[in-house]
Symmetry: C2
Subunit: 226 residues, 2 copies
DNA sequence: CGGACTGTTGACGTCATTCAAGATAAGTGG
DNA sequence: CCACTTATCTTGAATGACGTCAACAGTCCG
């Protein structure tokens, strides 16, 4: 991982998918590429926001913290951008961003970003990005409010598998405790939920999970009560 | 409430705040204004989405339903627009929208909306709107995950009062059971939470709530555990 | 006056967290 | 490469918060 990025790399991101070479140049020229190590903090709640972040490599968790508790709002992967709201709105970050493993991030200064969103094509891409995240957050609220821990985990595991797949094997993309936080439960509850799913045709070893019967899990989620 | 809206009315919405007369004409021309009565449904989960909705009068709740449970994602007021995601993404609604009391709504067909977002000024306004909603939803996740019922209610009540106000009186904007659902709790829990807050300087009668000491409530929310 | 709706209160049950300990895995230095 | 330390994960038992069920009190409207 180094501090250089080419147009090709930006072109692969959702934000700059169809952008002209001219714009990409402008972006690469005016922005900075930073690398972060595991657990390193990009920003914290309350800090002044002066740039937006575009993930090039690795993953970053955005979370809230209060009284020892930890609520993961989202996990950003390559191609995703964040901290838009802080730039456009309050001017301060309202959450904390922390690298999950090593990351490479393009950091676009606010003034440059303000110019970029005047380009209709980019603005529309941003709108798409935002609605997607809105959807993800809505799903998260739904999951937390209307499902219990075991169901939430089942739902999450299914979201990792290809649609309508039969027996299949998945590798958990993060540490279990991080997934637990993302699903709004304690690590202990996560562990127990995983245990419960054994009786619904699931086996696991380390981070490798085998779903013997995705259908049964799907039923579990849809079900009124477990 | 009737089916007519003027440019002035649109001009007051966040979306069309600075729009040209030409655009407003286009919108008024191509859209439909509908009125809904209390509890009436605008759309349900899974239905095809062919328009976006802009609230002119009244309020509308967006919620998810599963196994008898009810999770309110947001409550839209005058000037707010929704169902963007359904238009831009899946083509189907992922939640249910229901009128709270009587409502008047501008319904903009998808094709017209697609043309509108090519206008950079409108696109930027939409981006602002979306980031604001993203913030609201993030707050909601935070509230549900890291506060308990009494704290959530305190936090909500404070959000209804002017910032840094002293002793003050608020009127709950909705039925208590709706607020309860919005805060992710049962009506009974809401009632008890309200009870608990009595010892923190709160009195209430019907929907009128008096906060003797907003500071104490704020402390309650910030506090690690209640 | 009677019925439906909204909100309150109490008793009880359930699920998830909390606390504590142990097991497994991973990383470190000799 | 192995002993040792440090994280991560699992398991058990106890607590506690919230939900559930049921009954009742106001309130609104016909």
């Amino acid at each position: 991982m180094d501090g250089i990025a080419g147009q090709a790399e930006l072109h692969r991101t959702e934000l700059f998918k169809g952008a002209t070479a001219e714009i990409l140049d402008q972006v690469l020229e005016g922005s900075e590429i930073k690398t972060y190590t595991n657990r390193q903090c990009l920003f914290r709640t309350g800090q002044l926001a002066d740039r937006i972040f575009l993930v090039l490599e690795g993953q970053i968790q955005i979370y809230l913290r209060r009284g020892g508790k930890h609520a993961v709002l989202s996990i950003m992967g390559p191609g995703e951008a964040f901290a838009l709201r802080a730039i456009l709105g309050t001017g301060r970050h309202t959450g904390t961003a922390e690298a999950i493993g090593g990351c490479r991030v393009l950091e676009i200064p606010a003034p440059l970003f303000s110019r970029l969103i005047c380009d209709p094509a980019i603005a529309i891409r941003i709108i798409h990005m935002l609605t997607t995240r809105l959807q993800a957050l809505s799903d998260q609220v739904g999951r937390i409010q209307l499902m219990q821990t075991t169901q939430r985990l089942a739902d999450y595991l299914l979201s990792l598998t290809p649609k309508d797949s039969d027996v299949c094997e998945v590798e958990l993309p993060f540490e279990k405790s991080l997934i637990a936080a993302y699903l709004g439960m304690e690590p202990e509850s996560f562990s127990r939920a995983l245990m419960n799913l054994r009786s619904h045709g699931l086996t696991c070893e380390g981070r490798k999970v085998r779903l013997q019967s995705p259908g049964a899990l799907k039923a579990l989620c849809t079900e009124g009560r477990a």
